[in-house]
Symmetry: C2
Subunit: 182 residues, 2 copies
């Protein structure tokens, strides 16, 4: 956390948060839940995923250590989360209630500036992903994924990588075979 | 603008902005340009659109009066815009340079809070759109579009509505015919 904020702010965040452990497959937020919390991922890995009406899964985001996790739209609008947040590895997080987070922002303008950086980053990631889906084929999206997250390939199961790329696991196998990655 | 901020702040924004007119088909930002400006749309209509490698267009957003327009990711990262912003109607905007905008934010914490609201709104719109593309068919997306923007149907050409829904104009015609909307 010290990489992204001064030590005083780290301590401030720790003072209002709770350390929690999540095992792989455990949910930080379930689909349908009205989320009242966010968290900083100290170690581990999470994903955001939707389930479609045919029961298929679509992984909309993979979030690594040193990032925040939240079902943000649902949290701020006090509505049900449309997606779930699941641990993919044994993970240690600092959980913060939304109320405490709002108080923090009231007390020090640092946190508004910090939130702007987080929202801008999330916005840029979403925009890039939208663009890649529109303009690039699955193969190119896969190579971009490998380049951007070089260590994720070994940490995430192939069916989740496929669902992140919006393709079937068989298509991912074909792409990997063609590129001699199997 | 008075609906979304106090009158003093409106005047502050007007004092650093320039009123400009755009005719339909004129570009506020071109693809490939490094954008150094944002704008408030006083009246009129704009769209954000990508051009794919086959020359096809994809309208990623339609922005009505009383909203801000910007190629935000490119502006904050000082990189080229991947999409263009085009006027769809005769439009009057208040153009603000990014430098002036940053100064405004430095001088009054109101603007950071205001920016958070804008980013949160943009984030929620993007998330909703992503979800609709993943989970709903074109027909349902079209009916949602009509419900959400009841007056846009008559203001925007059918081929642009189709490119916003991610379908061919012929598919939109079929959907409209089926629903007795033609």
């Amino acid at each position: 956390m010290r990489k992204i904020m001064p030590i005083d702010r780290v301590n401030e965040l720790i003072s209002i948060g709770k350390n929690k452990m999540y095992n792989p497959g455990e949910y930080f937020i379930r689909e349908g839940e009205v989320p009242r919390k966010l968290a900083f991922v100290n170690s581990g890995l999470f994903r955001y995923a939707y389930i479609n009406n045919k029961g298929g899964e679509y992984t909309k985001g993979i979030i690594m250590e040193s990032n925040f996790i939240a079902s943000y739209s649902a949290m701020i609008s006090k509505s049900s989360s449309h997606f779930f947040i699941e641990a993919l590895e044994k993970s240690e997080i600092l959980e913060i209630s939304y109320e405490h987070w709002l108080q923090l922002r009231e007390n020090n303008p640092f946190w508004d500036k910090f939130l702007i950086k987080l929202l801008e980053k999330a916005f840029c990631i979403k925009e890039k992903r939208e663009r890649e889906f529109l303009l690039l084929n699955a193969e190119t999206r896969y190579f971009n994924f490998l380049e951007e997250y070089p260590d994720l390939e070994s940490r995430v199961k192939q069916n989740i990588v496929a669902s992140y790329l919006g393709i079937q696991p068989e298509s991912l196998s074909r792409i990997r075979k063609k590129a001699n990655l199997t």
